[in-house]
């Protein structure tokens, strides 16, 4: 059962950094959650506890500490599987982040399954990590890379996908579940249906989805799914690639080394079972284990409550922001159709000037291309400002942002 009350005060008290003052004693207003989220004391304590009491390598020794660590590491795998409604834990592969997960697929699956003349499809609102690996793959293999464009509301023009699929040449569609710049929530169900009919594989970049809404991989029907722990209260350096077992079994390994082998002889090697075949070398043991504390924290709040809180904040922020002089807001501008992410610009004011003025009031927003230069080109801007919310943000903090934006308008005489 999910709790129906959302106790913002008690959530905030779990995040030590939120007590910080910055820039002449202003309370920190952290609105850069799409880049990375802050960590609750439960996660911070888990890291200390691990190094103080349990630290050891895993899967190798039989001593007590090694057994404890191995067990805790595998317990996190179980937690992740349950969180995403994945039945088989062998489909959960630990990597260092979304970027590595996508590169793993591009390398280990792509190089054996994509050939000259084939098509790989991505979209205009992808993060560079879901574009560059496909450029490398298609350039190397002679395949073609195609983009699904966005419309003026920042939503994908799915009829273009139909055209690509109709050629019968599409091997893979790689799309983000939620855009990290516009916040747009992709209609992944529809895309998956289309891909299934055309026998194309589908990879979903869930870096901005898993932290913010319930994601049911067990029932989604995609082939690959990637996300990062650090964007959902967890430590940096941990990510997950989920993929169907049938696909993983046929794939060749990504990295070679310890742990991923069964037997190594001078000239040949047999691979370890899933998921270890894809986890070469000593993994990020400590941070994977501590990721458990982050998942527990989110589970306790309930992902539907997380989503509802963000909808409420986004609605409030969109209403107020639209009244700021000289502002241009990108994306759906509809809290139901977007995650807790709002990108905006001021007419004739460079985003870094905006971020600097806002920062003086203790407000942390991001300004830049957000690793989405293809999208920046589409929007015909060098950069945007982005405010992104999470479980601990409040309407009062949105008010501080709005006041700061009014200051920008005033300073620049808009």
């Amino acid at each position: 059962m999910q709790s129906t009350t959302y106790s913002l005060d008690s959530i905030r008290s779990d995040f030590p950094v939120l007590e910080r003052k910055v820039r002449d004693n202003k309370p920190l207003v952290y609105l850069d959650n799409a880049a990375t989220t802050q960590k609750p004391i439960q996660v911070i304590d888990a890291i200390t506890d691990y190094y103080k009491n349990h630290n050891s390598n895993i899967h190798r020794a039989v001593h007590a500490l090694a057994e404890e660590s191995t067990e805790a590491f595998e317990a996190t795998r179980g937690k992740v599987a349950k969180f995403l409604n994945v039945a088989d834990t062998r489909e959960i592969i630990f990597v260092k982040g979304t970027t590595e997960a996508i590169n793993l697929v591009a390398y280990a699956w792509g190089r054996d399954n994509v050939q000259k003349g084939d098509i790989v499809v991505t979209t205009e609102y992808e993060h560079h990590s879901n574009i560059v690996p496909w450029q490398l793959l298609t350039q190397e293999t002679g395949a073609e890379l195609k983009y699904i464009d966005i419309d003026e509301n920042g939503e994908l023009m799915l009829e273009q996908l139909d055209e690509y699929l109709a050629t019968g040449k599409v091997k893979l569609v790689a799309v983000s579940h939620v855009s990290n710049v516009l916040g747009t929530i992709t209609d992944v169900k529809e895309i998956i249906k289309k891909c299934k009919n055309a026998d194309a594989k589908i990879l979903i970049d869930g870096a901005q989805a898993v932290p913010h809404m319930k994601v049911d991989i067990g029932n989604l029907g995609c082939d690959f799914y990637a996300f990062s722990a650090h964007k959902m209260l967890g430590p940096t350096g941990v990510g997950v690639l989920w993929a169907r077992k049938e696909i993983l079994e046929k794939m060749r390994p990504f990295l070679g080394g310890g742990d991923m082998i069964r037997e190594v002889h001078k000239y040949e090697t047999t691979w370890n079972d899933l998921p270890y075949k894809f986890e070469a070398g000593t993994p990020n043991v400590a941070d994977v284990i501590c990721f458990t504390a982050a998942i527990d924290y989110l589970t306790k709040i309930g992902m539907d409550n997380v989503r509802n809180h963000e909808i409420e904040l986004t609605k409030y922020a969109l209403e107020k922001m639209s009244k700021v002089k000289g502002i241009v807001i990108y994306g759906p501008k509809d809290p139901e159709k977007q995650g807790g992410v709002i990108s905006f610009n001021f007419k004739d004011v460079h985003p870094h000037d905006v971020a600097t003025i806002v920062d003086k009031n203790g407000v942390a927003i991001r300004s830049g291309h957000h690793c989405a230069q293809v999208l920046m080109e589409k929007l015909e801007v060098p950069a945007t400002n982005r405010a992104s919310f999470y479980i601990y943000n409040t309407k009062q903090e949105v008010d501080v942002l709005i006041d700061s934006l009014d200051q920008v308008a005033k300073v620049f005489k808009l």
Partner: protein
């Protein structure tokens, strides 16, 4: 609202109406430079007569700090001798706009303020070295440019 230590009237004004904005065809000195973080991107053009700077222009896109500092730099060097300009220091430029504090307060935005000076120093360096074959006159301009930020 207290006066902003960065976004003064003067900076806003310069960013809106930059001085010496434009391009010189076939200039004696041309240097392009950019800041990957901010996306500031400028081209600086200089013509000289002997050692005297006769014409300066710049174009490109950037934040208010970058546009204002580049404007002021072009104003400061016009009509000056290359020898004089070679010895320009960070503070010579920053103090014109009251931005000396950026050195301490914003390691990020200082790059916006000094991009044009960096371009100028590199530009003069390659003018001496490549066009005049005079490495001695170039001195350690290149090292200076590289160590601005």
């Amino acid at each position: 609202m207290s006066a902003d230590p960065i976004y003064t009237e003067m900076i806003i004004e310069y960013s809106r109406n930059p001085s010496n904005f434009g391009k010189i065809e076939n200039p004696h000195i041309h240097r392009h430079d950019s800041n990957p973080l901010c996306g500031d991107s400028i081209d600086l053009y200089v013509n000289v007569d002997g050692n005297k700077i006769t014409e300066v222009k710049f174009d490109g896109k950037g934040c208010a700090i970058c546009m204002a500092c580049t404007s002021v730099l072009t104003e400061m060097i016009k009509g000056k001798n290359l020898e004089e300009v070679k010895n320009f220091k960070k503070d010579d430029l920053l103090s014109e706009l009251g931005l000396e504090h950026l050195i301490k307060t914003s390691p990020v935005r200082i790059k916006c303020a000094l991009l044009s000076l960096k371009a100028l120093k590199y530009g003069i360096y390659s003018y001496f070295v490549d066009k005049m074959n005079d490495t001695e006159a170039a001195g350690n301009l290149k090292e200076e440019a590289a160590s601005l930020y």
